[in-house]
Amino acid sequence: MTPEIALLCFVAALLELDTTYAGQFQLSRGIMAGPLLSLITGDWMAGVQVGVFSELLFADISPLGGFLPPSTTICCAISLALYAAGIPLHLAFFIAVIGSILVAHVEKWMRKTRVKSLARWEQRVLQKPNYINRVILKNLLTSFLMNFLLLSFYIWAGIQLLTQLVPLVPHRADIACQFAYMAVPWLGLAALLPEFRFKRK
């Protein structure tokens, strides 16, 4: 893994904290994360494209209640890292969408696991109220590390696997993936129309 991709994983894991853990300034959205991460790889147009496509792809899934939509930051980071390693963008994006769905499942698992520690944390907070600051810091660090390691491994494995597999991908399969990639913005834009459905006053 090159220092450039390691830096990309680091920044993406930081941006990912903005999704739910800290701030929620929407820096983790595709349209922000894509161009920001592409400053590291140097291909801004690829950053804009994967940013827009990933955001449109997940636009119809909102984080209502405890529901976790796949992360657009993770999708952008994986797409850009694989693209920087020489994988065609339409194939990189497909792998990235699967990666972001997997990361959302890991986050769900983390939230379930946190329940096991909850009683212990609450007990400690009641004994020593200042401990709440440590609990929050611990959760922030755990999430950052988990995302960073997961992203680094997924990208490393993706590069190793795809650099071997891409030359073997039949031309027809490549065209099929490119065609599906081309459809993404239109599918996403059309899905936005019902989002703005409103009742007459």
Partner: protein
């Protein structure tokens, strides 16, 4: 509300969802946000702190941008609880606090979900898309065109960032003050904003912007070809088919991401057979 206290609550409210769990949801974040207020109120009665904190460690879940309305109200209510003179008064205020916590968190979440997730987020996405398309950053191009000017790339993202955070930070900051200063007659600050009217107008503009973005995108996607060319017709038919498929999928409640993953599989099969 003193500015220092408002600032403390505001900064700590940014971490409301840290420690989110499936049993008590945002309870850790709520206790973290309220900690400076509680420490100040009970600095002379440290023995009372565990039972007070215990109330904040119970189930709590709301929309993060609207949580400020809950936090401001809790700060005010906690002051009233701390000032109770008799045990009966204390118990009454605790019961009232519990009812408020439930009612406010649900009401604020309902408004916040419609305003921020349902309207403002897709609207700011459209703002960025329109700016990019108008400035000639054609993200529909496959394969990718040459790298555009970095300023143009960042301008649209910055515009969307400013529009969203302008509203979100305003609601977060004002929500703390209004809910602290208002009473039940003003629904603890919630009635100070015209939520329904704002959401109605934002959705109306959102719908117009979506149609405009689709038309602008359609133009940018096809402008390189003459209307009589086969490429123009093929592309036009494809775009219209994708839009129709998306509508049908929406009716069947299939999320777009599954539609895309399904399209990859189906198109691969079509290409082979």
């Amino acid at each position: 509300m003193k500015k220092r206290q408002q600032l403390q609550l505001f900064v700590r409210s940014l971490f409301l969802q840290t420690g989110w769990n499936y049993t008590k949801f945002q309870n850790l974040g709520l206790a973290f946000a309220m900690w400076p207020v509680l420490a100040r109120l009970y600095r002379n009665d440290k023995d009372a702190l565990p039972s007070v904190l215990n109330r904040y460690l119970e189930v709590f879940n709301t929309q993060p941008y609207m949580a400020s309305f809950c936090l401001g109200t809790f700060a005010r209510q906690e002051e009233l609880i701390a000032q109770a003179n008799t045990l009966t008064e204390f118990n009454e205020r605790i019961t009232e606090w519990g009812g408020l916590k439930r009612a406010l968190s649900i009401t604020a979440a309902s408004i916040g979900d419609r305003l921020f997730w349902g309207t403002l987020k897709p609207f700011t996405l459209l703002v960025a898309l329109v700016i990019w398309l108008v400035m000639g950053v054609n993200f529909f191009d496959i394969p990718l065109s040459q790298n555009p000017n970095l300023g143009k790339v960042l301008a649209a993202a910055a515009a969307a960032f400013c529009v969203f955070n302008g509203v979100a930070l305003f609601v977060r900051w004002q929500g703390l003050r209004l809910s602290y200063e208002s009473d039940g007659a003003h629904c603890y600050g919630l009635t100070c904003f015209h939520w329904n009217e704002t959401i109605y107008h934002a959705k109306k503009w959102g719908l117009i912007s979506t149609i405009l973005t689709i038309l602008l995108g359609f133009y940018c996607y096809l402008k390189a070809f003459s209307p009589l060319q086969i490429h123009f017709l093929t592309r036009a038919v494809l775009v219209i088919s994708f839009i129709m498929i998306s509508f049908i999928a929406r009716r069947l409640r299939i999320p777009t991401m599954y539609l895309y993953l399904g399209a990859v599989v189906v198109l691969n099969l079509v290409c082979y057979f």
